[in-house]
Amino acid sequence: MTQKPYLHIPRPTARPGEVPDFSYLKLSDAGAVDRPPVTEKAKNIEYLSHQLVRVLDEQHEAKGPWDPSLDEAALVKALRYMVLTRAYDDRMQRVQRQGKISFYIQSLGEEAISIGQGLALAPDDMLFPSYRNQGLYILRGTRLVDMMCQCLSNTGDMCKGRQMPIMYQNRDKNIFSISGNLATQFPQAVGWAMGSAIKGEKHIAASWVGDGSTSEADFHYALTFAAVYQPPVILNVVNNQWAISTFQGFAGGERRPFAARGVGLGIPGIRVDGNDLLAVYAVTCWAAERARNGHGPTLIEHVTYRGGAHSTSDDPSRYRPKDEWAAFPLGDPMDRLIQHLIKLGHWSDENQTALEQETKTIVDDAWKEAVSFGTMSEPPFLDAQLMFEDVFKEMPDHLKRQRDELLALTGDTP
């Protein structure tokens, strides 16, 4: 009997109530993947796109050619920022639940990516993050108070009340403004890197999108321009297995790893254990060195897991097993770094408790200060005139009239 044509419908390996199953994830052993010289041609290193670069092994030891040999101070610094990012997320998630902010997105379980990559890049490299890269802002020294004020849309808000929570920016620290429209930043980063090359500068650009967002045309524009002009850019796909309710199979992840999207265009793709801070750091250093020395773009796929809901508007228990994260074979990035530090004799449970206490205090103090700039329901409130500014460099007459109309209506004088 001949079979009628049919559509392949991607199905996740487990739905709510079923046993999590990550057998589809192809893993390599820690230390098992070769590290080629940065000058290597893309066609000779295609293996990097389907193997998995890992440094930390099951015994929490660093293994193999990708071990970046970070010293104790660097490792502790990385852990500090991961713990701080998680503490920040935890607090903001809770204040959203209390109705103090309208919306929030956590990066739970993905902290090693922002922190590891942020540490590997130079301060004047330009970053084009997605909404789940808060660690980059924190690592580059954005004050938590400023980030909280953004989420509160209060008088301290860097975006002057224009954007929803989590849409940060930090021009001084070279981190771009976050867009709510998926993947738009990806080709923009390529353009920035082209600009860097045109100007003859050494700065490189990096950008991040989720697995789901790779479906957008903007992702493909980015890769095409990067392949054609070979600008100094690092393009990252954060494959946390889920978009909202659709798993990465709906972005084509069942066929080839996302890292292999570069291969067809001649861009090296590297698949890395996104929950292994050392591996993330090492592949980013490799890609940055390539870019900085004129060897062109790199596509990095970080294999990780979205530990929380998509956002505070989402309920993942409707579409995936509750215990899926616990079954994820690459574990929790923070715990893995802690265990590594303990193994090296640089860390203890007491150190960890003290660090968590300290970061909690930092976050508490920042929150107290942030709310002194106002909340959605408590003064001081932002001046509504701000609504009409920055549409253009200079306010056109029709906006001045609209502003005055509003002020007359609310009884404030222009």
């Binding site: 224009r162 929803m164 789901g212 659709t246 709906f250 579409y319 932002l382």
Partner: protein
């Protein structure tokens, strides 16, 4: 009859049309297993299977272009764009392809795609979850545009949209999915069960495209509006005590100019209101059409109340949103003029 909110009414339209016509297919981000982020397609995949209710990759341009292809192949696709703010990656396919296919092929090819998309503000969504781009799409020749203001119309108009052999963009004002909203955010929410238009037949019926509805009769002023603003205008009218005739255009294109004309000829005064920005907004078309048709009956300049000409802000939502106070001020202005 039964009580439905707008989500249930939209869901019911899908269900009936999918039962009635095996060529109707649904596609969009999170619409299948999950049933849509606003739950408008809840239960459809279970009932009709994964080949008729299709979870799509996150690519609005891909969703719209593949819907066009399915339509050319004899299917009747209903595509959901998760938020109207995310429709733009599909803009080229709508403007250059979907809208002109029939024309460019001398009537040989067409694709009866319906694009549904939640629009409008009032949910603290900021600039990426609050836009009202109906004017942009009503400007394109070859596309019909619809925005219902209640569950009864939502179901009846969606059925007509799906049945239409012309492409339709169906805007769903998300603020009133669960209940009518009169523009006062401090009042407790009201459900559709207390509203006459929340009474929705379980079975098939339609509300024809291109027919406006007179929501309230009056003889002093005509207010032309659609979507959420219909309810805000009703409340604003009560604030002023003016006997206004409130018209819900329901279908933005084709516009039911006869109903508008009849009303303005009677009242001699007209106010147009929408959430979208003002400059080149849909209101400009309404004002122009009414002026042309009713000039000799007008006793005062036609007034427009709209969103300000800025992106939709997060912090100043209720100063941006054209609420009761601004509409009431507009009403007084038209009544005092001339």
């Amino acid at each position: 009859m039964s009580q439905m909110n707008m989500i249930q009414a939209i869901n019911s339209a899908h269900l009936l049309m999918m039962e009635k016509d095996p060529s109707v297919v649904v596609l969009g981000e999170d619409v299948g297993y999950f049933g849509g982020v606003f739950r408008c397609t809840d239960g459809l995949q279970k009932k009709f299977g994964e080949h008729r209710v299709i979870d799509a990759p996150i690519a609005e341009g891909g969703i719209i272009s593949t819907a066009i292809g399915m339509g050319v192949n004899g299917l009747r696709p209903v595509a959901e764009i998760q938020f109207a703010d995310y429709i733009y990656p599909g803009f080229d396919q709508i403007v250059s392809e979907l809208s002109r296919l029939r024309y460019r092929s001398g009537g040989e090819f067409f694709s009866p795609v319906t694009i549904r998309t939640p629009c409008g503000g009032g949910i603290r969504g900021g600039q990426t979850h609050s836009q009202s781009p109906e004017g942009i799409f009503s400007h394109i020749s070859g596309i019909k545009t619809v925005m219902p203001s209640n569950p009864y119309d939502a179901k009846g108009l969606l059925i007509s949209a799906i049945e239409s052999d012309d492409p339709v963009i169906f805007f769903e004002p998300k603020r009133i999915y669960n209940g009518p909203f009169d523009g006062d955010p401090d009042k407790p929410g009201v459900s559709w069960s207390t509203h006459p238009m929340g009474e929705v037949p379980k079975g098939y019926y339609n509300v024809p495209l291109g027919k406006a509805a007179v929501v309230e009769e009056g003889d002093e002023l005509t207010i032309i509006c659609y979507g959420t603003i219909v309810h805000v205008a009703q409340a604003a009218t009560r604030l002023t005590g003016v006997r206004a005739e409130i018209i819900d255009v329901r279908t933005l294109f084709p516009l039911d100019i006869d109903t508008l004309k009849k009303s303005v000829e009677k009242t001699g005064r007209c106010l147009v209101a929408h959430e979208a920005t003002r400059f080149c907004g849909y209101g400009a078309e309404l004002v122009s059409s009414v002026q042309q048709e009713c000039f000799w009956h007008l006793e005062a300049p036609i007034e427009r109340v709209t969103g300000w000409d800025t992106p939709y802000p997060h912090a100043f939502e209720w100063k941006y949103f054209p609420g009761q106070q601004r509409i009431a001020a507009g009403i007084r202005k038209v009544m005092e003029a001339g």
